[in-house]
Point group: C2
Amino acid sequence: MVTIKDVARVAGVSPSTVSRVVRGQGKVGKKCRAKVQKIIEEMGYRPNTNARALVSQRAELVGIVTPALHKPFFGSIAFGAEKASRLTSYQVMMRNSQNDPDLEVDAINSLREHGCENMILHSKFGDADTLKSLADKIPGLVFINRFLPEMASRCVWLDNVSGGRLAADYLFKQGHREMAIVSFNSNNEDQIDRINGVKQGLTARGLTLPEANIVLREDAGPDVNNMQEYCTHAVNELLSRDVSFTAIIAYNDEMAIGIMNALFDLGKNVPEDISVIGFDDLDIAQKCRPALTTIHYPIVEMAEYATKLSLQMTLEKEEVIGRTHLFMPTIVERKSVKKIDVV
Amino acid sequence: MVTIKDVARVAGVSPSTVSRVVRGQGKVGKKCRAKVQKIIEEMGYRPNTNARALVSQRAELVGIVTPALHKPFFGSIAFGAEKASRLTSYQVMMRNSQNDPDLEVDAINSLREHGCENMILHSKFGDADTLKSLADKIPGLVFINRFLPEMASRCVWLDNVSGGRLAADYLFKQGHREMAIVSFNSNNEDQIDRINGVKQGLTARGLTLPEANIVLREDAGPDVNNMQEYCTHAVNELLSRDVSFTAIIAYNDEMAIGIMNALFDLGKNVPEDISVIGFDDLDIAQKCRPALTTIHYPIVEMAEYATKLSLQMTLEKEEVIGRTHLFMPTIVERKSVKKIDVV
DNA sequence: CTGTTAGCGCGTTCAA
DNA sequence: TTGAACGCGCTAACAG
């Protein structure tokens, strides 16, 4: 391993000078700089990041903590963060939290031991006080996909209410007047927002959504293991209630597909018999048949933005306060919603 | 930040003693150890990994380099590696290579600057010489999903030939006698192996696969951007050749789904009219309809194994040479293959 | 069993 | 414009 001393010796200068050349800072004579630069390249010298982190008390590290990286939604967060980091000299370090608040704290702490000051945290279940105390210690901590009013300027999140409204509006424009919702009932606030958005959209059109048209289950959250089973139960439940609807609004794409499958298994056609709309716009939404009409969640862009925000918070003087970072979803029209002629 | 000196001062001992307690090594008096331990916990002391890495010349880091983390297959590699790392004190650092050999080398080098000695590399296009010279410098470099004969003991890979054979065998048992293959034609050796496997399977049954039943395209590899378009073209091509077959063997699940969609768009039913079989067993395979019969690729287990292997190579004395690490695929039976009664 | 010393590679003073 | 000296937090070698 070639060190700064090696370069200095060969170049006939002091380590300090090499250091100045490497960092492009400080006054160095023109000729001297060129010579040192040349030798650096010849010897293939690369600064030791550990030594740097030690002396400067900051590692150029972006930490990512998400529930499970093999899920495309979270993989996209990692992808976006890496994309943004690559523009700088920062590296990405990651940990899965498995949605366990304790593991989450473990993950964060172990990242901190590495001098990681920049972190993107996807936490749905960590309690606000814990997160607040973490944020006080970690200057570059940013929350993705969660809104904490007391730390609004660190939150990069999506307007789920708008997403719900978008779904209701779109269905209305396609001629639908009676809709149903299949979602979860957990601590996760996203689905509450999405449902409220749907209700708002309908109210604005002078329509209402009967409570019987909403299917929720107490014992499940978005990370339920057997999604298909859950959806099959939910669809059966909905049909057994004997309420009327022409479209189902799903909590997300995964559920939408589970619902389409359940309907398929019951011999019902989507969208001919029943329309279905999703949320997230995962890859799978364009790969299933019928291709899923859904609400696009710009997660890669959000992760890139979150990473840049985090970097800005630690690198620049100006505080990024007084505003939050709210992204807007959009609708992606595909084939799972039928156009109904309004009489 | 609380340092080893702080703990030493409060405990009334020397930093070395604290160090011994922390690492659980060396001789420390029973009472002394207990006291130091208590103070460590009270003060919330955590060793600075950068200082450790600096002095020991090795960081406890597992680096992962894959083409693109937002794809579930690669996300699963990261997931598996993290899962294995979490059992130790190692952290995971990751980079996307975007299938670009230059970016790949960049990624590896920047990982090395962090003292990362353990790396899991998913490289399909890096040339053998480059990889060999990398391997000489990086003691814990492991290749996943690639076989390099000269570095066999560092390769954790899948028996693609067996996978192809498995597909052919299964189809044969379901009564199929005439099959078609839709795949790619790039430098990637996987598809060649898989096709050879299919041929082997058929040969063993006394059957042959006419070349006209194989559709490949020169200008595309597994990372083709518009998979659906590619599959639609491929299916049209196959049908226009007017060859006879009852089942299509796809290169992977993504293609299989593209093929099913193309058939669907042409008004053909899977599996009633044509059977389809995939490869990989991604999440999507069980979520599409008909659910996809496919060859299971145990990628998470392989990534875990690769990580442990890498750790073993750097931590333990015994060399892990003289054998390679070949995983076997299995078949997962779902709904996309029709059972044909053999007359 | 415990403490002292030295040094990992680097950035940051402060003198020259 | 350049160099020498110091210390970041820790471990290893040695001394006691």
